[in-house]
């Protein structure tokens, strides 16, 4: 059962990767990275039970946290165009689509 679960997670990781590669908008890629991070957490968790090394679950937790921070940073950059303001004084930067 764990093997079937990890195979399904691997397929989902492949689909998320395809979305990250093809885009087309910035938000697609951010969502794909977030998705990929979640799937990595799940893969590690399933693999921990599969191999009986449940101490690896701590790493899955750290991944979940780090994934969240990374996505928030990426979204803040897309929203503001920088990291040192909270307002929108830098209006030259277009939000959203790269092309």
């Amino acid at each position: 059962m764990y093997i079937a679960a990890s195979l399904a997670i691997l397929v989902t990781m492949g689909l998320a990767l395809a979305r990250a590669l093809s885009g087309p908008t910035t938000y697609d890629r951010i969502a794909a990275v977030n998705m990929h991070g979640t799937k990595t957490v799940l893969l590690i968790a399933v693999f921990a039970f599969l191999s009986g090394r449940t101490d690896v679950l701590d790493i899955a937790l750290v991944y979940a946290l780090i994934n969240f921070i990374g996505v928030v940073a990426a979204l803040k950059l897309v929203e503001n165009g920088n990291f040192h303001t909270s307002d929108h004084y830098d209006d030259d930067v277009k939000e959203g689509e790269p092309k």
Binding site: A20, T40, Y63, F83
Partner: protein, 196 residues
């Protein structure tokens, strides 16, 4: 056996991501793909029974360096739209390609002498590992041998590393972080807008 399947699939994803990173010109997408690359390699480390390396890869590769690269992109962005596109190429890549191929061949040649994965007569198993495995628990009382070596036997070395990392972090924060006055970091576009 199943480990091998997961290894192969994850390595295929890694190769796909690397090729995409090489071929893309959208720098924002490349940073996102770097995040995926880190997550994939960290998953690979876990599958290959190296959770401590995976821990570092997750913290540094997927977390910190994604944020640092995004910050750098925000600081050095072009004033032209779209700001996260790579500047056009001005030279051919033959010399770097040759250097990479030579280095890669040397590294692959170097792997021929490496003992098999988990082999009992590998130097890493026969040299000092035995001493640490036998003595680290009574010496230090730390159940994890790697932690015992890093934090107890090599405690001063680790303290030095922490100092170096702290200094680097302070320098990076001075460079890219902190509040800026609104008038100083102006690009050409903003100046034109202010005059108008």
């Amino acid at each position: 056996m199943f480990d091998v399947v997961v290894d192969i699939v994850l390595l295929t994803f890694l190769a796909t991501t690397s090729f995409a990173i090489m071929r893309m010109t959208n720098l924002f997408a490349i940073i996102m793909l770097f995040g995926i690359f880190s997550l994939l390699s960290a998953g690979l480390f876990v599958v290959m029974d190296a959770p401590d390396v995976a821990f570092t890869e997750a913290a540094v590769g997927a977390g910190i360096s994604t944020v640092l690269m995004l910050t750098t992109l925000a600081l050095v962005k072009r004033s032209k739209e779209p700001y996260y596109d790579e500047a056009p190429k001005t030279h051919t890549a033959w010399l770097p390609l040759i250097v990479v191929i030579v280095t890669g061949s040397a590294l692959i040649y170097g792997t021929w002498d490496i003992p098999n994965f988990g082999s009992a007569d590998a130097p890493s198993q026969t040299h000092v590992a035995r001493f640490y495995l036998e003595n680290s628990l009574p010496d230090t009382g730390v159940p994890n041998t790697v932690t015992a070596v890093l934090a107890s036997y090599r405690g001063f070395d680790t303290l030095g590393e922490v100092t170096v990392i702290f200094t680097a972090a302070v320098a990076v924060m001075l460079l890219i972080g902190g509040k800026r006055p609104k008038s100083v970091p102006k690009t050409e576009g903003e100046e034109a807008k202010d005059e108008a």
